[in-house]
């Protein structure tokens, strides 16, 4: 589904990703862990197509297409979703209105009929109960005055609405208490399927108690330095990231 080969990217001339290789197949959950500044969020941004970042080498194939050639909205149309670490606020625009536009733009891209108001509301109700979100939140201005937990739940709701093939969760656990993490994770788990894949980016292991990964990768200094099963995350939890530095120095 997603094949990243020797990806190099940076910002303002500074290289941050220094040769990433990663393959994700349908149905899999991958976790990328690593200390601050290792390039985790850069990887998410580059995959989503943020223009501040410059790709200097390598390739990314997504469902048979050259992902790096596509505009951000086309990537969304192809089925790539990014749950933002810091979701932005848009005053005066309700989540409902925002999602109605987004869902129909994506449907247009996919050559599907746009939904009318009634069909949209039906879809919305279905997804609301799936991710357990309150309607009041969706009628308010997008993310404006939302708590950290509400913002992340809103991201998960949007993900459910857009039914992506690959969902990237960028530090979805940051700033959340354990209850909020549990709720967000339950939403993510509710929309997992054999056809879809998830890439979880996190600093801490605790999110992975609730979204259990098939593979864990350790990102350090712009490269994936270690890959393993879910037990790798636990190992990191015990030893911290400092051991990596030693290992790297020895190598």
């Amino acid at each position: 589904m997603l094949q990243i080969k020797d990806l190099h990217a940076g910002i303002e001339g500074k290289e941050i990703l220094k040769g990433i290789n990663l393959t994700i197949r349908p149905g899999e959950v991958h976790a990328i862990m690593g200390p601050n500044g290792s390039g985790k969020s850069t990887l998410a941004s580059v995959l989503a197509g943020r223009s501040d970042y410059e790709v200097t080498g390598g390739s990314v194939d997504f469902l048979g297409k050259d992902l790096l050639e596509l505009a951000p909205e086309a990537r969304a149309g192809e089925g790539l979703f990014l749950a933002f670490q810091y979701p932005v606020e848009i005053p005066g625009l309700s989540t409902i209105n925002f999602m109605k536009t987004a869902v129909n733009e994506v449907r247009k891209y996919r050559g599907q009929e746009v939904l009318d108001a009634a069909e949209f509301l039906k879809l919305m109700k279905e997804k609301m109960s799936l991710v357990n979100i309150d309607k009041n939140l969706l009628t308010r201005s997008l993310n404006e005055g939302f708590s950290g937990g509400e913002k992340k739940r809103n991201e998960v709701f949007q993900m459910a609405m857009l039914e992506p093939r690959l969902a990237i969760l960028d530090e979805t656990d940051s700033g959340l208490d354990i209850d909020a993490i549990r709720i967000a994770a339950a939403g993510v788990n509710a929309i997992r399927s054999k056809e879809n894949a998830t890439l979880v980016i996190t600093h801490y292991q605790r999110l992975l108690d609730y979204i259990v990964p098939d593979f864990v990768h350790v990102l350090y200094n712009g490269r994936i330095v270690k890959s393993g099963g879910k037990e790798l995350a636990l190992e990191l939890e015990e030893t911290g990231y400092s051991f990596l530095k030693n290992e790297m120095n020895i190598a």
Binding site: D52, E69, E73
Partner: protein, 481 residues
Amino acid sequence: MNDGLSTIEQQITSDYKYGFTSDFEADQAPKGLNEDIIRFISGKKNEPEWMLEWRLKAYRHWLKMEVPEWANIKYPPVDFQNIIYYSAPKQTKKLNSLDEIDPELRRTFEKLGISLDEQKRLSGVAVDAVIDSVSVATTFREQLGELGIIFCSMSEAIQEHPELIKKYIGSVVPMTDNFYSALNSAVFTDGSFCYIPKGVRCPMELSTYFRINAQNTGQFERTLIVAEEGSYVSYLEGCTAPMRDENQLHAAVVELIAMDHAEIKYSTVQNWYPGDKEGKGGIYNFVTKRGICAGVHSKISWTQVETGSAVTWKYPSCILKGDHSVGEFYSVAVTNHHQQADTGTKMIHLGKNTRSRIVSKGISAGVSHNSYRGLVSVAKNATNARNFSQCDSLLLGDRCGAHTFPYIEVKNNTAQVEHEATTSKIGEDQIFYCNQRGIDTETAVALIVNGFAKEVMNQLPMEFAVEAQKLLAITLEGSVG
């Protein structure tokens, strides 16, 4: 790929979508302005002597006045002798039905998407269409007539209701008020008159579409609305203008009068031709709009969506004379390319327990300048006056400007006046967030801008809110920052 600001800059290129001219024979005055021209206009309209005298008085006063230069706008001086002050679409006989309208005229309406057939069918909207200074069609007249409501062109009103016109014209905006109101008083060619009798609630939105047409024709409309005790009316003025190379002057006067417990809601969607991307052409819009809450518990509410014109100079105001009267001003002003807008309101608190509310949303793109200028004045005897003002500016790109000039004059220490102001930019982050959800940059800007303007848009009558939202999107097509 979306490469951020540069894309944004590139996309500030949307062209005016209503740029076309229609060709019909105009019956017009020679260029220039003097007493003979005023006599010509008055004669063309078959006006009574008192009206002509009133015009001439205004003209003589105007001659002694100076062009106001205090606004935050720059434009070449207007040559008032190079303007045609009267131009009427040729009409051989009085029309009995819409079917008799010049087909060319009909096509113009249809291009604007306001075909009268449709308007007539659309329930609840009566249209008094003004093309080049003369009303060509009035609908729903009979229905309104049954309620005693008068809704007709100013020319007709002068003929048929001279006592009302004589009483109220110039009573809110005196002919000597300012340079442009004096000019308008001298040369106004048409406009609308609306009278709502005591206790009547006007059952439909009254609407006028103005449209500048013959080349070099300055348009000088005059609108007068009188709401008698306990009555209610909602009025919408909307306009689009064809593309032009030469600047055109537009100097309207609107007067509103609300008696005891009466309410007037006046909404404007203004889309005059703003000029091209280089700032060439476009309408100069110098308008004087003022309402008086003459009676107790009366209310006047102005809502405006200003997207057009090269230069806008406009301050719809409320004189809160009656005790417990309420004035409101809701404004969205959008400027793009080289447009300049200096707009705002005046809330003059004279009566006791008067309240006013100002919500102004300025949106600037391209290299445009957008200024809010507002006065809140509380007179010595206006005890317990309340005002709340909120002025928000949204910038798209980094070459435009937003300015706020609030003036507050309080002469009574029981007054409470609040002013809040914010300035923000559409962030790349907001755009990218929308992009990531599958929404292209153009649509994203429309969503963000409409969100920003929502509080004001919500004040528009339902029928026009959708239209206004589209207009915002068209005006800003692609511009972000």
